[in-house]
Amino acid sequence: MEATITITVDGRQRTVAVDTRTTLLDALRDRLAVTAPKKGCDHGQCGSCTVLLDGRRVLSCLALAVAHDGAEVVTAAGLDNDRLRETFLDNDAFQCGYCTPGQLCSAAGMLDELKAGWPSAVTDGEPTLSASEIRERMAGNLCRCGAYVGIVAAIQEAGR
């Protein structure tokens, strides 16, 4: 069964027919040729598909496309945060680049959450932009190349 939805992707309104079983990730990649979000596990276990959905970081492989008619999606391609890109490049915070779009969207979402005062499992008092807060909050975005040291440094720099 198909359904037609309209979503805004990186500032552009797109109308598309999707199988009702289609995830937001597959709708983006297969139906709309928006391939910045990556498929690493398709089960919400790796973070490679992270996008900002109505402003919050979300695993697009766990979202059904039909459930998000009218939503606004921002991917790494449209992310308005060149500062993060700059600090990722400076700190060599990626190697193969496959997890990187998800890391960037997750980092942007995480910095907003921190700014809003949301606590994490390691928060003691007011949350600050410490390395341990970043490590904890980014633990859902796996990087098999092992660029974590650079990722933490890049986010800390960009968030200052």
Partner: protein
């Protein structure tokens, strides 16, 4: 020379990767693709007796279902791992027995799940045992090394030694798990086949596919400009690429996309064999080794032999007059093992480097002093001089940076806030490889740029950046005048990105081409001038290896046994470093994977059914951002003119070698508990 070699140039592929616009295999723009999904065997050994395809065929939009009954015949079935859908035999659980192609990925998956397969099942064996009656000695070990080595009389040395260590160490089955699942987009267009593939080598893959399907190589093009990690699992062709090509041949004219799932990666794209390592060391009371014996038992698959070279690093590490190494294999009903980052060295430096720590403990000698005491003058294996060997330099520099001198050698003496704290050290090593056969071409363009072309691969290793640096350096031009082209069989031949040989093999070819270009055209070339170069032959005068030392600080929770690696510091002697920025990432990345191996990684086989039960990233744990605290990589300035024209030794793999031993040694120092079986999980300490 512009001095570009040695410059910390930021990654040239950075902007594309940081916008998510660098195309990986699945993402190339092909017209009107069809989607494939695999059906896997649910028995570990036996025969397929039939298929019920009715429910799958009843679905709209199913384009084809291929099984051994109707799949096109392959030309060359010599590599049984690639000889897919050619007969009814099932040799391991998870083997592909059918593939569905449909108009959408959802339908392909639904149809695959709707196929009923019946089997005639036979008893299977998937458990690796050191006392397996069927153990055999392979003719050689990966890539083509002698299975056994022997000098002197190691048994007598053990019998007469002041101090001995005789222990068994194990490493588990581990899966590479690059973030990008293996993907092929295959398209037959007329008589030409184009593959967009996640591969570590476009030319080797082309050769394999051409022979499998009986094609001339010039009719096959393989394209892979960006690869989402590989760690060896994309180094050799595996079954999915053959299946994608079969589907595309069946649906000629229609591109077929086959992206395997994370779960399928646990049975189809290789893994590291479990190893059982009996390590025996004989020494005098000062710790001077008189004997080293390493006997390894590991597994291979009934489908195809792969013999990991686990015992080989012990042949060159330490001096001892009496020594022996050997490998024995159990042929099991399991998926085919293959390369995983530093095959041989990575598992093979766990047992011996923990054993050295045990020897240090028994002789009451500092672990660093013990290693220095056993430094060989010549390579103990070949008798040749080392082209360079700076293990002692790495140990001493690392000790200084890490603060080793302040260490109390006694275990279980530091309890802080409920955590036992300890430190440990281990050596790293990796052989220097350079593969023959790569060709580079350099062409001067009308707008004053140098096009440098070679079919090399960048899996995150930095190839896009460092090969441009090599070209700029050797042409003596600014790097922004170099336009590098890689990852396509339309470019000159390149060898596989494996064995940490990329820069040595491809970079040397580029250096040769740059020299030829300047010889021919001087410094004022005309548009269209071009020259080519080749990888030179490897010197056989010297033993050539990179070395390193890794230091770990580990905390073990006194009540829960939770293990934290609080600090990890590595110092490497790996020849000339082309780009300090990307090189540091290679070392840190290897060490991170080593930390992951130490604490987490373990594929758990359910021997009743023959499959890996923790076959996803929720249950096969790899290190996350939260696991990696203080991590540092340093290197010695090492000049080695013998290894290759660039003086590089290869850095992609050595970072993972020795890490797990350093962590295990630190965990012993923290707690007094000697862990000889990876991973180092909390239950070991309770």
């Amino acid at each position: 020379m512009t001095g570009m070699i040695g410059t910390a140039l930021p990654r040239r592929d950075g902007p594309a990767k940081l916008h998510g616009t660098a195309p990986y295999a699945y993402e190339h723009d092909v017209e009107h693709p069809a989607y494939a999904h695999l059906v896997q065997a649910t028995i570990a050994r036996g025969r397929v007796t039939g298929f019920d395809l009715s429910a799958a065929n009843a679905l709209d939009d199913v384009l084809a279902i291929l099984t051994h009954e109707n799949a096109p015949r392959l030309e060359d079935t010599g590599n049984a791992e690639l000889a897919v859908l050619q007969d009814d035999a099932v040799a391991f659980r998870g083997q592909v027995v059918a593939v569905v192609v449909a108009e959408t990925p959802e339908t392909a998956r639904q149809a695959a799940n709707a196929i009923q397969v019946t089997y005639d099942s036979e008893p299977h064996e998937t458990r690796l045992r050191a006392d397996d009656a069927g153990l055999y000695t392979p003719e050689k070990v990966n890539p083509a090394l002698p299975t056994e080595s022997s000098q002197g009389d190691v048994e007598s040395a053990l019998a007469s030694a002041d101090v001995t260590v005789d222990e068994v160490y194990t490493t588990p089955m581990e899966h590479n798990n690059p973030m990008e699942p293996h993907t092929t987009v295959a398209h037959w267009d007329g008589d030409r086949l184009t593959l967009y593939d996640s591969t570590q080598g476009v030319h080797p893959l082309r050769s394999a596919v051409a022979s499998l399907f009986g094609l001339d190589e010039d009719r096959v093009r393989v394209v892979a400009p960006y690869v989402g990690g590989g760690f060896g699992s994309k180094g050799q062709p595996h079954a999915p690429v053959a299946l994608a090509v079969l589907c595309a041949r069946h649906l000629t004219g229609r591109p077929v996309k086959l992206a395997i799932t994370r779960q399928q990666m646990f049975s189809l794209v290789g893994y590291r064999t479990p190893t059982i390592q009996r390590i025996r060391l004989a020494a005098d009371h000062t710790g001077a080794l008189t004997g080293i014996a390493v006997d390894v038992v590991e597994q291979t698959a009934r489908v195809k032999e792969f013999a990991e070279q686990t015992a080989t690093p012990s042949r060159s590490m330490y001096a001892a007059p009496h020594r022996r190494t050997g490998h024995r294999l159990a042929e099991l009903d399991v998926p085919v093992p293959s390369w995983m980052r530093a095959p041989g060295e990575c598992p093979g430096m766990f047992g011996p480097e923990v054993a050295m720590d045990e020897l240090a403990q028994r002789c009451e000698v500092d672990p660093i002093a013990l290693r220095i005491r056993n430094e060989p003058e010549l390579d103990p294996d070949s008798g040749k001089p080392f082209s360079s060997r700076n293990l002692i330099g790495c140990l001493e520099d690392g000790a200084r940076r890490f603060g080793w001198d302040a260490r109390d050698p006694r275990p279980r003496t530091r309890l802080e806030d409920g955590w036992w704290i300890g430190t440990g050290v281990a050596s790293s090593t990796y052989p220097v490889h350079m593969s023959p056969g790569s060709v580079a071409e350099i062409r001067y363009t009308a707008d004053g740029r140098y096009e440098v072309a070679i079919g090399a691969a960048d899996l995150g290793t930095g190839t896009w950046t460092v090969l441009a640096q090599v070209a700029a350096d050797r042409l003596d031009v600014p790097v922004d005048r170099v336009e590098l082209r890689i990852g396509d069989t339309d470019l000159p031949n390149a060898t596989v990105a494996g064995g940490s040989s990329g820069v040595a093999s491809w970079g040397s070819a580029i250096a040769d081409a740059a020299g030829a270009f300047r010889d021919k055209f001087g410094t004022d070339p005309a548009a269209g001038d071009e020259a080519s170069g080749r990888t030179p032959d490897l010197s056989e005068t010297f033993a050539m290896r990179a070395f390193g030392a890794q230091f770990a600080e580990v905390a073990v929770h006194a009540d829960t046994g939770e293990v934290e690696v609080r600090r990890l510091l590595g110092v490497f002697a790996a020849g000339r470093i082309v780009n300090p920025r990307t090189a540091r990432s290679q070392f840190l990345g290897g060490m991170t994977m080593g930390l992951s191996m130490a604490l987490h990684e373990q594929s758990v086989m359910d021997h009743r059914y023959g499959h890996v039960v923790n076959h996803d990233l929720a249950e096969y744990h790899i290190a996350t951002c939260a696991d990696v605290r203080s991590l540092e990589a340093h290197w010695l300035d090492e000049t080695d003119e013998h290894v290759n024209p660039l003086g590089t030794k290869g850095i992609g793999e050595i970072g993972i070698v020795g890490t797990a031993a350093a962590v295990a040694n630190a965990a012993w120092h923290a707690t007094g508990v000697r862990v000889r079986d990876l991973p180092i999980t909390p239950d070991r300490f309770l």
